[in-house]
Symmetry: C2
Subunit: 564 residues, 2 copies
Amino acid sequence: MSKLRIALAQINPTVGDLNGNVLKIKNFIEQARSFDSDIVVFPELSITGYPPEDLLHKSHFIDDNVTAALEVSKSTSSITAIYGFVEKENNQIYNSAAISSNNQFLGTQKKIYLPNYGVFDEKRYFSSGDSHTLINLKNSTVGINICEDIWYPNPTKNLASSGVSTILNINGSPFQIGKIAERKKLLIKRAQENQVNIAYVNMVGGQDELVFDGGSMFINFEGTIEVIGSQVTEELLIYDLYEQPTTQQNKSFNYSTNSIYINLDDNKKQKIDTPKSIQESDILEDQILQALLLGTKDYVEKTGFSKVLIALSGGIDSALVTAIDSLALGPENVRCVYLPSRFSSEASRSDANELCINLGIDINEISIEEIFSTFESTLFEDFKNTDWGIAEENLQSRIRGALVMALSNKFGYLVLTTGNKSEMAVGYATIYGDMAGGFAVIKDVPKTLVYKISNYINLKYEKNIIPQSIIQKEPTAELKFDQKDSDSLPPYEILDQILELYVEKDHSSNEIMNKGFDRKTINHIIQLVDKNEYKRRQSAPGIKITSKNFDRDRRMPLSNKYTN
Amino acid sequence: MSKLRIALAQINPTVGDLNGNVLKIKNFIEQARSFDSDIVVFPELSITGYPPEDLLHKSHFIDDNVTAALEVSKSTSSITAIYGFVEKENNQIYNSAAISSNNQFLGTQKKIYLPNYGVFDEKRYFSSGDSHTLINLKNSTVGINICEDIWYPNPTKNLASSGVSTILNINGSPFQIGKIAERKKLLIKRAQENQVNIAYVNMVGGQDELVFDGGSMFINFEGTIEVIGSQVTEELLIYDLYEQPTTQQNKSFNYSTNSIYINLDDNKKQKIDTPKSIQESDILEDQILQALLLGTKDYVEKTGFSKVLIALSGGIDSALVTAIDSLALGPENVRCVYLPSRFSSEASRSDANELCINLGIDINEISIEEIFSTFESTLFEDFKNTDWGIAEENLQSRIRGALVMALSNKFGYLVLTTGNKSEMAVGYATIYGDMAGGFAVIKDVPKTLVYKISNYINLKYEKNIIPQSIIQKEPTAELKFDQKDSDSLPPYEILDQILELYVEKDHSSNEIMNKGFDRKTINHIIQLVDKNEYKRRQSAPGIKITSKNFDRDRRMPLSNKYTN
């Protein structure tokens, strides 16, 4: 039985950066070759980055991507490379894997099942494949599944029954809570039920709201994870395949197949110490933190920024965002401003300062008082005989928004917003005020999880990065005297549970009530969620960590009379 | 040959307003019955409104919609009603037509072709039908096509070949420039090539970015439009069908069919003067103006507002938006503010005032000077040793944004933004400044078209509603001394042509250059369009009038290195 050496190239491509992605792929092919690999496997749409969205409507983009895929094929001397690209055939496009070997482009495998739910819109662009390509390489036959294809039973079953011993499954699969465990479970099941090895290759890195969380792995036909990659870094994982399942060919499937035969010299191979299965962190807070760090770093860098600006309030949300940014980008690339008003407490100032000292970040203070007073006098005539209220509260937040944007315009910072998912859900945020900024780091993190991750950061780094006083104080927007979040919202423990049922699980008010929550509270929250759709529509994108975020995942009408 | 009286109910449903939509449908059934109609046909998804988007992920919404569809069936004594609803079958949902008659729910027709391009996401939600329902009514056999189905040859061909003489085509088809003519052409072709009558029923009304533009019509089997409805108002169109084609049954098609037999008493019918074919306006500016009026009115009303606020600059864009709002909502529901700075000209003030006098709108003036000066002094330390520039320009716009939002929060106005498509494309707008507001009336109207529609309004209403001085002056943002749009942008005649090729037609820079434009200008514009994606992502929705708007129609990544 010949040894097949498989390299899993877990890379971080950038959407639209065809040249950069080609260079990266060539570099990883070169690395794989230097380890005498027979085959190197890259993620879904590695050439274009994923998801390319409406770039796919530009026919010249498709053509450029084909040119790039052909260019890569010319760097495959003595090795076989599998890499995702956009295939064009008869005026249709396909989400395909390119199969290149010995400097030749040999063929493709088209994706069969196109996800068109959640954040995915693949049926907007792609046609579906309906056949399998078998790759005969040394004494093995391998086949390819593209992402979604392995979540349905048939593609793997068909390949197994046509004699394939190893499935190369290439992915662009984003992080969400619980997904890492779910993937492993599914892949182990597929391997066992079909008696095939599975080489699962996922991309890594942030792309707008998504974080691709790697975890590429080789699972043998008995369902054992032999090797697994990191959640956050680019890696080349190499696995030597000795044992293969005894394949049982059963031609009773419906898909058509075509075969590619590849001759590769059996190079003298240096011994590789196959790494032990690296246990990814089972700590949920750590998985989430890693996703937030990577998502922030990549959004900032891939959009061409180097430095970020955060308005600190002295509260937990802006503290967590600052800690994440500092860990992701380095404290030298983070600047904070504290923008107090007549309603800001001395505790807020000292907490904001302490946080920055802990992280080694520059902070300066700009009072909004004079500006706010000038707004009040300017609006005096218009506002006379009205009660002080929401208009005046929001004005303070909008002054802060204008100040951070002025600093951004002047010095080139990317402004990061600090609202959490609970606030975004109920509209407890000021549009054009604290919502002003380019990226919303914790937009998909519910308030109760904000606390957990803050505590986890202090635990992980073994010091109080986020001051205990920030964690322990009662949440307040400080937009009027003695204001507390709890004045207008139920406790966050209750709020977050109801929000998960209403927003993520699409439960009705009755179903939520049947879980033991109070009818009046439920109705109040549902009303808030629904009437604040317009704010979310104009909000900055943020990192998806839950099963349903407020960006591509949830598409609600603004004019809508259904509220239940 | 028996006379079949068909009523086309061109209604304006509201998304999610199940009770309201049921009432409206019942009311139109009652009207149709009062005219002794045999059958009354409603638009696609009349029960839910269109598009319901992710409301379709709520299983209780689907159930409530089924209940509503059944309730309507109980109001069909002595008449047959066809109305769009969401059908649920084996855990799948379908975009279907309900067929009810004599107070019974008799069956459905499922939509076969699901649009999943442009603004449409139907494959996100619905499964496809694969069979035809034939309705035998008096001596006629009629069949149903749902919207997209008539744009493909097969469904109509199949129905015609199975003996159907009249196709009831129910639609949720939005306006865009040229669509009215395109629809007529297609429907005439379908009627002629299949020798069938077509009763085309479209909804009317605005829903967020979309305006459904009615134009329901009856086309006979020879391709003659016998009757056609308005672009903007609810209507019940009645047509008496005497002549029918001699159908040729040809069973060689692949779809399965099922048949419904309906007995209706042949009521003594009062004579109906079938209206002559009403010629819809062929004036493109009028079609666009009608769409903008209806889209504005419905967005304001369907989101629960009654009054709107506009910041007037004295320029053409805010003047056009104000004129549209005044025509759509009545001048008593429009309030304007003029917010001058040290850079505002006396001409801007007098132009803004003259516009408001012409329209009978209240305007008041609030200078931003003191606030701007206070911002400058507050930022003095941070900004020292820097050049006055974009930060200071944007600050003025953001002060205006904060002022209009303060008035909105205080008095409940919906703020309407005034940016046109050309500005949105190249980012010639201040995010959180003049982009602050809930609805962007002319967001999809290129600048050159802004002038045409402004002139058209003056022509149509036979007076200078929009002062000539506004139309004739050179465009300027007045954010610094002696600023002109032409300082940083090519002439709008050039800009708009390049934008149409790049944004709407997805042409590459080379293809645009081959049309005779200057390479440097093209590259500059493409760069501006691409780098301002983040602004558009946070912009208010606006009324779609072109083939590709900046809302659901165009989904571009923010992190993107491809610019061509």
